[in-house]
């Protein structure tokens, strides 16, 4: 049997010999057009001179990166010191995205587990229910969240009427509201990959563990989590990375009082600043950071695979 398959695959290879390049063309085109071109443009723009009120002048300049790392005072002529403004903005964004990811995992894992352990058509119904809110545009969902949590919104009125609280909890325009918004926006990106790995999990392992007197806790930490780990990590990345660049939730729920990375970048293009090279530079720094984290993860995975 194995020999047969091997033989068949060799003949397949010879059938397509020489066509490989052409078969690769579509994926090269996609990668080139949607990845290399835009990122390359961003990289180039980040090293150009800014034009007053938006646009670039085609002259090489390091000003955008200089602006990110060095503070030269209000008038730009003081001796340079380290600029904390943007580092703080990055740190705030990482923290918000991290909190959102943590809570997505906390809620998403049991949810995925619950769905994966349903039987028959029920499973599809639950999955379907998870995706329904995501048919609606993110902007609309973020605004509805705002209506829910405002001081005079249904959440507060409900808690007031139950007598749980005596005056409205102030949620809107706080960082908690931003975290809540991010959590709500990206939760399914946590649930779906975890669901996919839990579904492949062979429940006989749990029975074996129980037969061998493993506690439930040990079964979870020693058997289940290691096996579904790729799903968990994929989910965390899918929630963390878009949260890092989000600007709808910070703007609408956080009151736009403090920049997050996304709104800082947006301001460079849409606001008065009109500093395109700086916007591109901030995007490049964000991209490099994410890339470093993902490369680290990929290498860890490769090492574990080799073991």
């Amino acid at each position: 049997m194995a020999a047969q398959i091997a033989k068949k695959s060799t003949s397949n290879t010879s059938t397509y010999a020489g066509l490989g390049v052409f078969l690769m063309l579509p994926s090269w085109a996609v990668i080139g057009f949607f990845l290399v071109l835009p990122v390359g443009m961003m990289l180039i723009y980040s090293f150009l001179t800014k034009e007053f009120r938006g646009g670039v002048i085609w002259e090489f300049s390091l000003n955008a990166y200089d602006q990110f790392f060095f503070d030269r005072g209000l008038f730009g002529d003081a001796p340079p010191v380290i600029e904390w403004t943007y580092i703080n903005i990055f740190w705030r964004s990482i923290w918000q995205a991290g909190v959102a990811t943590f809570f997505s995992l906390l809620i998403g894992f049991p949810t995925a587990w619950f769905i994966a352990t349903r039987t028959g058509p029920n499973k599809s119904v639950w999955l379907f229910l998870i995706t329904i809110p995501y048919w609606v545009n993110l902007l609309i969902r973020t605004i509805s969240m705002k209506f829910l949590i405002r001081d005079t919104g249904p959440l507060n009125e409900w808690l007031l009427s139950l007598g749980v609280i005596s005056e409205p909890i102030h949620i809107i325009n706080t960082s908690f509201a931003v975290q809540l918004g991010l959590f709500y926006s990206y939760l399914p990106f946590m649930v779906l990959p975890i669901y996919a790995s839990v579904e492949r999990y062979n429940f006989a392992y749990s029975e074996v563990a129980a037969d061998l007197y493993a506690s439930r806790r040990a079964t979870l930490t020693k058997i289940i989590i290691p096996i579904v780990k790729p799903g968990i990590i994929a989910g965390c990345i899918l929630v963390f990375v878009p949260s890092l660049g989000a600007f709808l939730a910070p703007d609408l729920l956080g009151g736009a009082k403090n920049f997050m990375i996304g709104s800082l970048i947006e301001e460079q293009f849409k606001g008065n600043a009109g500093n395109w090279p700086f916007g591109a530079a901030v995007s490049m720094i964000l991209l490099s950071m994410v890339l470093v984290v993902l490369t680290f993860y990929a290498r860890q995975q490769a090492k574990e695979g080799a073991r």
């Binding site: 007053f52 009120r53 736009a256 009082k257 849409k270 009109g274 500093n275």
Partner: protein, 344 residues
């Protein structure tokens, strides 16, 4: 799962197919949000058999960025504010026309004809003008509101309940009036004072937002909202017990203008549309909807009584309204730094 996606895809395909329509010509408008009644667009479309499409923006700067980023050639007309007309003309984004191209050119009110940002009106026509200051919820605060201190040095009852327009130009212009310094000042002490002022005021501000400006006043999320006068009138009509202020230190006056864009794909229809908007009845329709003031003669008989008597549209005699200035590059760099530090 797969079935779900298939269903979604077919619904999408159906909607796309249904939206294809036919008309003689086209007109593509780039406009502020909530600023023109749909009926008026429909009326123009029917009268001239033109298919009208419109995209919206929420700040002059956002519009400029979008046009500079490659949207030139896809729109026929846009609606920039006063100082932005000047900036766009300097950047070569505007086309010109002759007064004789518009049969209603003579309807333009004389005071809006020879304006500094477009002398003689060769690229633009007046759309609406109004003011920017702030509105205060009278259930929360009953004291004197006609001072910029309400925003920059608010009484205890209003602290933490203020929404500020997410618009650098208008905020820093109002702050300059509060300090009694000229806009776009080059004096370093004055610029430092401006920076200190907004930094000190920020803890009293609950949020920044332009498109939410009306909403937060109606819902009560904010007790004070920096806002445009017509938007404030709308908020009042929607049930907010608010009063619009004309601060003694000064307030921002602006005029929005319909401009003919360079490389307009439908130049003829663009001119027809501009001429259409200079018709008093149509200018009045915009005023009745947006509650600002038209720059066209002869609108009075078409205006709603509520608009004519709206307090927001009737500044006190001797009101201290000032246009926002476009700063030089050096000063703008300082303004940008102040704004970023404010929101860091």
């Amino acid at each position: 799962m797969l079935k779900t996606f298939k269903l979604g895809a077919s619904i999408l395909a159906l909607t796309l197919a249904a939206s294809a329509a036919h008309a003689e010509g086209k007109l593509s408008i780039y406009h502020w949000f909530e600023y023109i009644p749909q009926e008026l667009l429909d009326k123009f479309a029917a009268e001239y058999d033109v298919e009208v499409t419109m995209d919206t923006f929420d700040s002059n700067e956002a519009m400029l960025a979008s046009l500079k980023a490659g949207k030139m050639g896809s729109y026929d007309v846009a609606v920039p504010g006063d100082y932005m007309v000047e900036i766009m003309a300097a950047a070569g984004l505007l086309d010109t026309f002759e007064p004789s191209d518009l049969s209603n050119f003579g309807n333009i009110a004389p005071e809006w004809l020879d304006v500094s940002f477009d002398p003689g009106r060769h690229s633009s026509i007046p759309y609406q003008w109004g003011s920017t200051s702030f509105a205060v919820n009278r259930d929360v605060y009953s004291g004197d509101i006609n001072t910029t201190s309400i925003i920059f040095d608010p009484p205890a009852a209003l602290q933490g309940r203020i929404n500020i327009l997410d618009s650098q130009g208008e905020v820093l212009a109002l702050a300059s009036m509060h300090l009694g310094i000229p806009q776009c000042t080059t004096d370093r002490d004055q610029l430092r004072a401006l920076n200190d002022l907004v930094q000190a005021a920020k803890p009293s501000w609950a949020s920044f937002g332009s498109d939410i400006a009306k909403d937060v006043l109606v819902s009560g999320d904010a007790a004070v909202g920096m806002i445009w006068n017509g938007f404030s009138a709308k908020a009042r009509e929607e049930g907010a017990n608010i009063e619009y202020a004309f601060p003694k230190e000064g307030y921002v006056v602006w005029m929005d203008n319909v401009v003919l864009l360079k490389d307009a794909p439908n130049r003829d229809n663009a001119l027809k549309f501009m001429n259409f908007l200079l018709e008093p009845e149509n200018a009045a329709a915009v005023t009745n909807y947006a509650q600002y003031t038209a720059g066209v003669n002869g609108v009075a008989e078409f205006l709603d009584e509520a608009v004519v008597s709206a307090p927001e549209l009737n500044p006190p005699a001797g009101g201290n309204g000032q246009f926002v200035m476009a700063c030089s590059e050096d000063v703008q760099a300082v303004y940008d730094k102040i704004w970023t530090d404010l929101k860091k």
